[in-house]
């Protein structure tokens, strides 16, 4: 397992660096917006990775509510943390692009607002899990929040079509703007790199949670043998 994890780490690092170099040196600069458009190649994959983290959180939450098994709860928690990490990237890179394209860092556009709301739901999940006890009630409440958070994801996706706004629809608008094949390839590399990164981060976080669970079990056994104080 350790070698598989190490291999995935190396592969992810190579994919991220390779993708970065490809975007920097191969993908052409967009004619209208200039070099700032290259933010897009990591901004969109990080938004997609946020969806992946949120999906893991939802599946883990449903699994925990259905079976009560710790491993599902670990997956849900890992997914929520990854969703927060990726959401932060979206909320930082998006306004940096907007500063140039729109002249303002932030506007209460439907997609921006629903994205912020979604990240805040997962921040609430992480805060809840960090600062409350690890009891069954807290885990169930967090699982409900994990499922509720996922309900917002389709709204983010459809918000531009339903309510308009200024956020561009490059992917859903049939790839408008990505005229050069290398632009599409750059985006594809970004998606691949962020998929690997999401798997790695979820795995790392689940591994951490499992180690903590095994420590708790070992301490219980040590306590039963009278080796440690309660």
């Amino acid at each position: 397992v350790d070698s598989l994890f190490g291999g995935l780490t190396l592969l992810t690092a190579a994919a991220l660096v390779g993708s970065l170099l490809f975007i920097a040196f191969v993908v052409p600069t967009e004619a209208t917006m200039g070099i700032v458009q290259k933010i897009f190649y990591f901004h969109v994959p990080s938004a997609y990775a946020m969806y992946l983290g949120a999906a893991v959180c939802m599946v883990g939450s449903i699994g925990y509510l259905a079976s009560g098994k710790q491993v599902w709860d670990s997956a849900a928690r890992a997914g929520a943390e990854v969703a927060v990490v990726m959401g932060l990237m979206v909320l930082i890179t998006g306004p940096l692009w907007a500063a140039k394209a729109w002249g303002v860092f932030w506007t209460w556009d439907p997609r921006l607002t629903t994205s912020l709301l979604s990240v805040l739901v997962y921040v609430a999940y992480v805060v809840l899990r960090t600062f409350t006890g690890g009891g069954d009630a807290e885990k169930k409440f967090a699982a409900a929040l994990g499922i509720l958070g996922a309900a917002n994801l389709p709204i983010i996706h459809l918000s531009v079509r339903k309510w308009g706004g200024t956020h561009p629809q490059v992917i859903t608008g049939k790839g408008g703007g990505l005229t050069d094949p290398n632009m599409k390839l750059g985006l594809l590399f970004g998606f691949a790199a962020f998929t690997l990164l999401t798997v790695l981060l979820v795995w790392l976080r689940v591994r951490q949670d499992r180690a903590q669970a095994r420590i708790d079990e070992a301490l219980d056994e040590a306590s039963a043998l009278g080796l440690v104080d309660d």
Partner: protein, 87 residues
């Protein structure tokens, strides 16, 4: 009144076009730097915590194993003593 009279005439400030305020290159570098800092920060802290937990787990499991072995040896010695006393 004198202070009011000496105030300079307010000059209207024209809105600054975004391209004059922010360089595209700077924003791009900031965006990618933020991504790397977030990724490395998360991986570094998660990895450190995982290693620390796995080391702690190894120490506890080692202690438990030694304790079980000691317990088994003591039991075996007690059993031998009891048998020899019975004879």
């Amino acid at each position: 009144v004198i202070a009011f009279q000496t105030q300079p005439e307010p000059t209207p400030t024209a809105p600054v076009a975004p391209e004059e305020t922010y360089s595209g290159g700077t924003l791009l570098v900031l965006a990618y730097a933020a991504i790397w800092v977030i990724v490395f920060g998360f991986v570094f802290f998660a990895w450190q915590r995982t290693r620390s937990l796995e080391d702690k787990l190894a120490a506890i499991e080692g202690g438990l194993r030694r304790s079980r072995e000691d317990h088994d040896k003591t039991r075996a010695a007690t059993e031998t003593t009891r048998r020899s006393e019975d004879r």
